[in-house]
């Protein structure tokens, strides 16, 4: 089978909507267009019924009860609602929040805003493998700690944090625990009770559902979590999130969650094998390439590699028929290399040389082989024109050289 170009290998950024999901959504745009809050006619009842089913489907993906799911516009809103909602509601109990330096901006920047409002936030460092240290977590906890927010899997490096262990610590100390599970939900087994999590953010478009819809799990018992709503209005979603429900989007999210649950085992096995194949091919032909983050505690479809002595953007330019992301400064608006990679302590130069590969439901072995071969060619070519590679081959230790930082 001929390969169709360009190849999409950026499934961490977003995923295409599964055709089965689109099919489930379609009637809710036209024929069954009712407002789920309309209580006195069949248009509303149909919509409400569809939302109830979706609520159950999303809840089952993470081992929750349907009544514990609050639909939102996406995970950014879910993260904002969880953190700001808890901070405001439990202000009298305390003002301290613990999170990590490698969290998504939707968590970090939410915490930064709270700091301006008088909250205290601890940003836990991560170890070389991208994992937080549980000892660090324990020692950060104080009398005023009201919330721990640690993501399940990282969006850049795919590293999976020890969620069950963190949950146990939070439970023992009586602190609420929120996790941004956007990259993990639907990809790896997740259970709110086994992991003792109180709040979970998920997004539809990372699991083959539509953009613009997400959910927040809010625990209802042991303990019952209370949130101060961040959007006021008609009191939808048990008063936690006002706004007319995005019925087609929610239906799509439900269907996407159902499919992920059904196909998780086979998808995981298939993508894990393809990811390992990509990694092995690259390692076989190229020296001095480094996997960023733990190999063991990692999403099966995820790989982040630094190609030493080659700058990320020039690498992307050489593989312009492959859609991937780089931690290079040049690919971001800020001209700063990835803060996640910097947090691993790998050095800015390796952050500039990194590529994130995200495999997904429609990735084929032919695509993986094409990407590997192309990368090997381009990295080799760029190293031939890299002064750093030349210096390294001459035996110069680049870290001891005096560079004129501009």
């Amino acid at each position: 089978m001929a390969i169709k170009l360009p190849i999409y290998m950026d499934y961490h950024a977003t995923t295409p909507v599964d055709p089965r999901v689109v099919e489930a959504m379609l009637p809710y745009f036209t024929k069954q267009f009712g407002n789920a809050a309309s209580r006195n006619h069949p248009f509303g009842w149909e919509a409400e019924e569809a939302v109830d089913l979706a609520r159950k489907q999303v809840a089952e993906l993470i081992g929750a009860g349907a009544k514990e799911m609050v639909f939102t516009s996406g995970a950014t809103e879910s993260n904002n609602l969880a953190i700001k909602g808890v901070a405001e509601m439990y202000r009298e109990k305390g003002n301290h929040i613990i999170t990590a330096v490698t969290e998504h901006k939707a968590v970090i920047d939410t915490c930064k805003r709270l700091e301006k409002e008088g909250y205290r936030v601890t940003y836990l460092p991560v170890q070389k493998d991208g994992l937080i240290s549980l000892d660090d977590l324990r020692s950060a906890i104080g009398d005023k700690t009201i919330l721990i927010s640690i993501m399940t899997a990282n969006n850049e490096i795919g590293v999976i944090q020890p969620i069950a262990e963190i949950g146990a610590i939070a439970k023992e100390k009586g602190i609420l625990f929120h996790t941004d599970a956007v990259q993990a939900a639907g990809k790896i087994p997740f259970n709110v009770n086994e992991m003792k999590v109180d709040l979970v953010s998920v997004s539809a478009h990372k699991m083959y559902g539509p953009k613009g819809v997400g959910a927040l799990y809010v625990r209802r018992r042991n303990p019952r979590v209370l949130l101060a709503p961040q959007i006021d209005g008609g009191g939808h979603e048990r008063g936690m999130r006002s706004g007319t429900l995005n019925v087609p989007g929610i239906v799509g999210m439900g269907k996407a969650a159902e499919l992920c649950k059904q196909e998780m085992a086979s998808d995981t096995a298939r993508l894990g094998a393809l990811r390992d194949r990509l990694n092995e091919r690259l390692h076989k032909s190229l020296d001095e390439i480094y996997i960023n983050g733990s190999i063991e505690h990692r999403l099966p479809h995820s790989l982040n590699i630094s190609f030493a002595y080659v700058e990320g953007e020039s690498l992307l330019m050489g593989i312009n028929d492959v859609a991937v992301s780089s931690g290079s400064a040049c690919t971001s608006a800020s001209l700063e290399p990835s803060y996640v990679l910097k947090a691993l302590g790998a050095g800015d130069d390796l952050a500039h040389s990194s590529i994130r590969f995200g495999l997904g439901r429609w990735t084929t072995q032919e695509e993986v082989d094409y990407v590997a071969d192309k990368l090997i060619t381009v990295v080799t070519r760029l190293r031939e024109m890299s002064p750093l590679y030349e210096l390294a081959k001459e035996g110069v230790d680049l870290s001891t050289m005096q560079w004129e930082v501009h």
């Binding site: 330019m317 290079s328 130069d349 002064p387 501009h406």
Partner: protein, 139 residues
């Protein structure tokens, strides 16, 4: 980000990639930038001592496509110029030739710095050469 055709051409067919013997008294080497900033350029010129004209120029660059293109273009322009003419090359000319967007202007600045560094290294060698012919050239 969309690249200009000229940047793509230099990226795909870089001119004068390589290295000249850095210990040659007629070769000047400039190494500018820093790995943690995401770009490092090495630019070398070989000057004909009789005429003062740059006979050859080579580069190696670690950096984005625009950085590679800026240094590749610089080596093209350097060949056949006298040392003084080379020093007159301005980064704005590189920006114009390659249609670099504002966010990539630093690449052209780095290329100008590399030219100046290479020529300064060459001149330093010439002084050393006349003063103490046996001295090891510094890089």
């Amino acid at each position: 980000m969309a690249y200009s055709n000229k940047v793509i051409d230099h990226y795909e067919n870089p001119r004068n990639v390589g290295s000249l013997p850095k210990d040659d008294p007629n070769v000047g080497t400039g190494l500018v930038g820093a790995p943690e900033c995401g770009d490092v350029m090495k630019l070398q010129v070989k000057v004909n001592p009789q005429t003062g004209v740059i006979d050859d120029a080579k580069f190696k660059t670690f950096g984005c496509g625009s950085a590679i293109a800026s240094s590749s273009l610089a080596t093209e322009w350097l060949k056949g110029k006298t040392v003084d003419e080379a020093l007159a090359i301005k980064n704005t000319e590189i920006v114009a030739e390659l249609s670099l967007p504002p966010v990539k202007i630093h690449c052209s600045v780095l290329a100008e710095d590399a030219i100046k560094a290479a020529i300064s290294d060459y001149k330093k060698k010439q002084v050393n050469e006349t003063a103490q012919p046996a001295a090891q050239p510094t890089v």
